[in-house]
């Protein structure tokens, strides 16, 4: 199988979706001639023209609102919000409108838009250009939240997101854009709401999100050398969360470690932990463990940011502690 980067896989999914349907169009800041701030939409303007790859002014609320409006007439807009930190500016359109429209209209309205964004933690972008905020969107019933960790999943999940009839928040990770992996050439989907067991193991369950998946897998390899066999689960979709796969794994291993780039308090890990506590408390052999970011704005200086960030080493260290129980 051929290898592509995470970024190329996303570009391919967008390009083929636009080929397949004229209803698909892109809008966002600098996505045209510039090719997107990170290069995900590179070449698409040349291929599909300015009517379908629309450069917008810096108007995050209007970008999402306009995507929503177009979706109400059956189009499939893919809006890009350059940094996840900018998403709160469009929160009203995304959460208060798009997510709830189907429900509030008694099923009359379907906001089938895809909102792509990325988080840049690890690139010394400072506290307003690095945040990973998935938990903010867990309290938005109607919105699906996707966070791929591999090139294969990036393409398959984006394809599946484009088929959704409701809104999808698709969160990419800038640190993963250059990561490579096998990506099938043809069309395929990775279903939303289905976790992937990235590594089988019987001693503990590590639930890892986005960038922390490869970090957790690397940690698991080192743990294996020390005789600890970790199972690594990638939920892939944060909302809806595949609770069953997580519960099944914890039921088998009896130990849970959660690794995610977002902040500890009220983060995705807190939701996963609560779920396991509610549904599999009796199968836990040890207190659960979380490797997340501390409750601080992200520091700018690279050495400090590195210290701030969850990492493979931190996962390994926490896993070794967990294994002592």
């Amino acid at each position: 199988m051929r290898e592509l980067t995470y970024l190329e896989a996303l570009n391919e999914a967008l390009s083929s979706a636009m080929e397949r349907s004229n209803d698909v169009f892109l809008l966002g800041e600098d996505i045209g001639a510039y090719g997107g701030a990170f290069g995900v939409t590179k070449g698409l303007l040349q291929e599909f023209g300015a009517d379908r790859v629309i450069d917008t002014p810096i108007s995050e609320a209007a970008i999402v609102g306009a995507a929503l409006g177009a979706s109400l007439l059956g189009m499939k807009p893919v809006a890009e919000i350059m940094y996840m930190d900018f998403l709160p500016i469009s929160m009203d359109q995304l959460v208060t409108h798009a997510a709830k429209l189907y429900y509030m209209s008694g099923g009359q309205l379907k906001a089938g838009l895809v909102l792509r964004t990325q988080y840049s933690l690890g690139r010394a972008h400072g506290a307003q250009h690095s945040e990973f905020l998935p938990a903010w969107f867990l309290q938005a019933p109607g919105l699906k939240v996707v966070a791929p960790s591999t090139p294969h999943d990036a393409k398959g999940l984006l394809n599946a997101s484009l088929k959704e009839k409701g809104p999808v928040l698709f969160v990419e990770c800038a640190m993963l854009y250059k990561s490579k992996g096998d990506v099938p050439e043809g069309y395929y989907e990775v279903p939303l709401g289905k976790a992937d067991v990235k590594r089988q193991g019987g001693d503990m369950t590590i639930v890892a999100i986005s960038r922390m998946v490869p970090e957790a897998l690397a940690a698991a390899e080192r743990l294996a050398e020390k005789g600890i066999d970790a199972e690594v689960i990638d939920p892939r979709t944060i909302q809806p969360l595949d609770r069953k796969t997580i519960i099944d794994s914890v039921s088998k291993t009896g130990r849970l470690l959660i690794a995610s780039d977002d902040m500890k308090t009220g983060g995705v890990g807190a939701e996963i932990a609560a779920t396991v506590f509610e549904e599999a408390f009796d199968r836990l052999k040890a207190p659960l463990s979380r490797v997340c970011s501390p409750d601080l704005p992200i520091p700018f200086a690279s050495p400090l940011e590195k210290e701030y960030m969850p990492s493979s080493e931190k996962v390994e260290k926490a896993a070794l502690e967990l294994a002592k129980w």
Binding site: A62, G69, A70, L72, D92, H97, G112
Partner: protein
């Protein structure tokens, strides 16, 4: 900057010369009376009978705008209303019983009882695409719908209604700018009732006028008399033509006055009494019905018949709405994600 075109108040001598068929004028009046009677009934159901609860924002006094505009649109045009949207719903021929049922939170409501009073005007069968409760938020949505209309080559325009308070939101500025940059067929109608809840326009809008602010986006801008449905009708007709020629978006400021408070619970005692009295003298229905009767477009008897027919329609609709049950709680979980 585009010139601001003022469409003045219709004078008695002018009316016949405008070439608007009598049937159209009668239809406008009927819609105004319907909107008025609907809201009076809502007030009764809320205050006296407690059949309607929650926030409820009446359209009383603003009927000339929705009715005049509705008659200038076609069935293919899209309308984005607000939380003060009952008037837009009934003048767009949404089924009265369903709008009442929605206000009561009943399962036969326009939104199956899940939207409530601020969203009762959502009725996609009549292309009432949305009724938003967040001030100004339908403006960027209209820009996107306009883009879709353009892309699909539909013979339609998108009309977004909002109040004077909305023009101070980021959404207004982002949305109108985007629509203007894209040149989409969207018509932004500011129903300037002069109060953003309790804040008077003069203390909220720094620009000389709202129309001037819109015109700064270099789009065709009209100022209509919001208490004269013919003025609104003419402005809307003109704006629709511009949009269909591909020269949209357009903006209409229609100056009017809320007869009551922001919501049904608001006594509006922050308004000077002489101001209230002055506008009470400009009741759009009293003025327009007098104009039509004086100009012999319809007789006193016809007008009386029109009113009693509407009264009967309202009573029948309320009866039907009251008979509808509340939605089952157990069905809600299945309503979150579209099938």
């Amino acid at each position: 900057m585009n010139d601001i075109v003022t469409v003045g108040t219709t004078t008695p001598t002018e009316l016949k010369g405008l070439g608007i068929p009598d049937e159209k004028l009668k239809s406008i009046l009927r819609k105004m009376v319907l909107a008025r009677r609907f809201e009076e009934k809502v007030e009764e159901l809320y205050l006296k009978m407690a059949l309607i609860t929650g926030p409820c924002h009446l359209y009383l006094g603003m009927e000339a705008i929705a009715a005049g505009a509705a008659e200038a649109l076609t069935v293919d045009d899209y309308v984005l209303a607000t939380y003060r949207g009952h008037g837009h719903a009934v003048t767009r021929d949404a089924p009265l019983d369903k709008v009442f049922a929605e206000l009561m939170g009943r399962v036969d409501g326009t939104c199956k009882g899940l939207g409530g009073s601020m969203h009762a005007a959502t009725w996609t069968e009549k292309k009432l695409m949305l009724a938003t409760a967040i001030v100004g938020s339908n403006i960027p949505i209209a820009a996107g719908m306009g883009l879709a209309v353009k892309k699909k080559g539909l013979d339609a325009v998108v009309v977004a209604y909002f109040g004077d308070g909305a023009v101070n939101s980021g959404s207004f500025n982002e949305g109108v700018n985007l629509a203007a940059v894209w040149k989409v067929p969207a018509i932004f109608v500011c129903e300037n009732n002069q109060y953003a809840m309790s804040l008077p326009e003069a203390r909220g809008v720094a620009s000389k006028s709202i129309a001037e602010r819109a015109a700064a986006y270099d789009i065709p801008t009209f100022v209509a008399d919001g208490n004269d449905p013919v003025s609104v009708y003419r402005a809307m007709k003109e704006a629709r033509g511009i949009c269909r020629r591909g020269d949209g978006p357009c903006f209409i400021e229609a100056r009017t006055y809320r007869m009551k408070g922001h919501g049904i619970y608001d006594k509006a005692d922050y308004r000077p009494s002489d101001e209230v009295r002055e506008w009470a003298g400009k009741d759009p229905i009293a003025m327009f019905s007098k104009l039509l009767v004086d100009q012999k477009v319809l007789s006193e008897k016809e007008y009386g018949d029109m009113r009693s027919t509407i009264d009967n329609e309202i009573e029948a609709a309320v009866k039907k709405a009251r008979a509808s049950p509340y939605p089952e709680f157990s069905t809600l979980q299945g309503m979150v994600y579209p099938e």
